[in-house]
Symmetry: D2
Subunit: 266 residues, 4 copies
């Protein structure tokens, strides 16, 4: 049983069309859940909030916001989850280069660093390369940076390490994608980003930062890269982030994770 | 009634896993259709060919090829088509930056060139900007080039003009995507790439090159950019293109197209 | 008569080879001048400091520093200056693309924004474009960013606006280069960077930020871009900036500068 | 004794300002030399040709050309040469990143591939890395590509391998620069580009392609990268290359060169 919540406050200075990706995916068994959206402290009209379902059970909330201070508070209790099946198109779709996982540009680089490794050795090679070479440095990267920029600067956060691992794996023929998640035990607590790899006919999760316990993760969004999973997308108008708080607690002891077992998340 | 065909010959020098996107989409009314795959002149075993269905009725053929000369011959007769509906996620998904349509990097540039235009004026502005500024130059671009590179070099083919228009439109809030198509009347004849924009609740097609008659187009693949629609993707192994032929004929007179009417394709 | 000074303090954590560009150029009439280099408060051995003369009277101080806190304090009083002559090679050298002024990539962009303008109209056009389009935003740029990145992000500091103006002008056939300077009256006070353009056989200075009074500027370094003029270059070893202070005062009233007169600096 | 010549023919379609770098440097002992410039077969007025001297004895010829077919024919006989001395500023200037040798972006990459190597081991490591990893592929690169693009694509010509070696060495603290040269014995014959490295107080030449005999090289231009050494720069107007021929013959046997001895050129 895991209890998660997030609170995002924005200053909307021009009427804005916003997409939030904070609700847990439909792959989770949701015991209870609340989503509250207020503007300057008063509830926003329900018609201004639309829930959309993206691929793989991802849920988005599209909010049409007038100017003011917008607050999106979400909480849920999750009792379990079902792993996503590997669909036949996954084998093709998640080999393609994407905006922040430019595996086509990094094809030779992936070969240089991972050599002729195959299968799980290759996956472990990519994970270790990121762990050993990418310095965890909040604030070092720009939203427009992708795997190439991370490869050159060797700095970043979970999003950046994940993008680089995904690009390396796709370049070497292993389908890989990004998953945003609530991560009990994560320090500092934040929305987390991890990698899913398609091996032996199933999706397994790996953590490019080594900071989270994977069995405790609660899936939010699943996609090609951060373009599909960002907790906030400003479609139009203007809004500036004021504060953000994330909480994720597991009622059971946090499962120990050495990062190398094969783990699936729901 | 349109008769289309394509023939792709490859030299496979290491056993290869290949994905072809040459069959017309399920949005078309297909009167008859043949797909023949041979290796060194003999039919390839049927088990080596798998048809996959991607989003929006796109059909892919994944081929496991031993070494030799691989030939993929496709032909179809299409009597009509049904336009794709705009789904609710389309409004979000096709605003996201993608590998070759880096709308996030080009946000300021789009504003510089298109200014405060809105709606159809904005769409027409983007189309005209590409027509007037991008020189049609086969061989000028690299497969790893995206909209930014095309914007800087001002050269490219249908793929490149389309990527730039899509990036401009997404940056300005209009969902846009890439469609590969057979294009009766196209000179020189080749696989064509056009743009679909989501306006007034429906997907309309625009042609960044002005070379095709849009009402005659036959849809093949639909996606974020060329990563989703390339006629050939080499997943693993090694294969070099030897020859490629494309044919597309309409039995009726080719519809006149000034490029500016609102046209939907199936 | 202008009194200028700067104080740079670094934490040297691995023995380092450092190059400082803080002394005023030989084009200035220097009434008095002091340079003091200390390590952990004690004067550094004179043999560890070498003065080098770069092109155009630029003076560099190369310092071999052991670990510790290194402090470089410079002050000078300048009574006048002689403008640099335009040398024949300047007409060729300062048209070439350079690391941070990638005029070759920006050739089409320069044409888009400046059109067929020529001569001083072109110079004024480039200056105005930067003033109107680049938001002054300390901390927004990375040391590896050049004119292209500034063009895309539309944010930066004096270095970035100057790089973009230089790239635009070179792309349109006007030799241009970067000058670092002490700038009396600058707010906030800092090392400043301005552009020199070669027009009518002489070098004139323009300010892409509009923040400085050009007649009061005191030249430090002159070069192709910030690779030649940075106040600190870490050649080897490791050093982190602790504090930096810059002061520049003119004893006469600060000359009014509307940014558009033709001004030469010495 | 070496006999070299080159012939460049251009179609000038708009009056053009051109800079040629085809004459051998003043570091060579020139026994005889001719430079003939004709337009549509008639000699161009002498006033339209200006010889400029760049750094390090480089000679440029700036030509003001009306429209027509411009032919620049150069030949020389060289009996010997004097190596260039290492000047004190060379130690700083040739460590700086430049347009096509973006050593700042490639700092981590250089460390990944060359590790803690120092001195001549480092130089040999960079040369071998380029020899083993960059495929010689005429036509694969674009004039705007620099070391980063070559690093990613692993393809290029002498210019590209040299840029990458220079970037790697500068990133690791060894001053390095580009030299264009006539190269007796080169196959296919063309203008050649090699690297000079500053070691033990002197400039030594290394060849990133392994195609030339270094002792036989005849220096043309010396600079930071191809921005300083290109055989043709179109400053303004419009001109398209029609044909180019290069010849370089040594009257003595071509010195054997295994690529690893320490060689200086004049």
């Amino acid at each position: 049983m895991r209890d998660i919540s997030s609170n995002v406050r924005l200053s909307v200075t021009e009427p804005a069309d916003l997409v939030f990706s904070v609700a847990v995916a439909f792959t989770n068994t949701i015991e209870s859940e609340t989503l509250t959206v207020t503007l300057d402290g008063s509830p926003l009209d329900a018609s201004a909030i639309v829930e959309l379902t993206d691929a793989h059970g991802t849920r988005l909330h599209r909010v049409t916001a007038p100017t003011g201070v917008l607050e999106v508070a979400y909480s849920a209790t999750v009792s379990g989850s079902t792993p996503l099946d590997a669909e036949s198109m996954d084998h093709v779709e998640y080999l393609r280069p994407s905006r922040y996982c430019d595996s086509d540009r990094l094809a030779n680089v992936a070969w240089s660093h991972l050599g002729p490794k195959q299968g799980w050795d290759l996956v472990e090679g990519a994970r270790r390369w990121a762990l050993e070479n990418i310095v965890y440095a909040p604030g070092s990267t720009d939203p427009v940076d992708g795997a190439l920029e991370t490869y050159l600067s060797r700095e970043g956060v979970c999003r950046d390490s994940s993008h680089l691992i995904i690009a390396f794996l796709r370049a070497r023929g292993i389908p890989a994608r990004l998953v945003s998640a609530y991560a009990p035990g994560l320090l500092p607590m934040d929305f987390h980003a991890v990698v899913e790899v398609l091996m032996d006919g199933a999706w397994f999760v790996i953590d490019g930062t080594g900071l989270a316990s994977r069995p405790a993760l609660v899936r939010i969004a699943t996609g090609r890269d951060a373009a599909d999973t960002a907790f906030l997308t400003i479609v139009s108008g203007r809004a500036d982030l004021l504060t953000m708080e994330v909480s994720a607690i597991t009622r059971e002891p946090l499962p120990y994770d050495d990062g190398r077992q094969q783990v699936r998340i729901g």
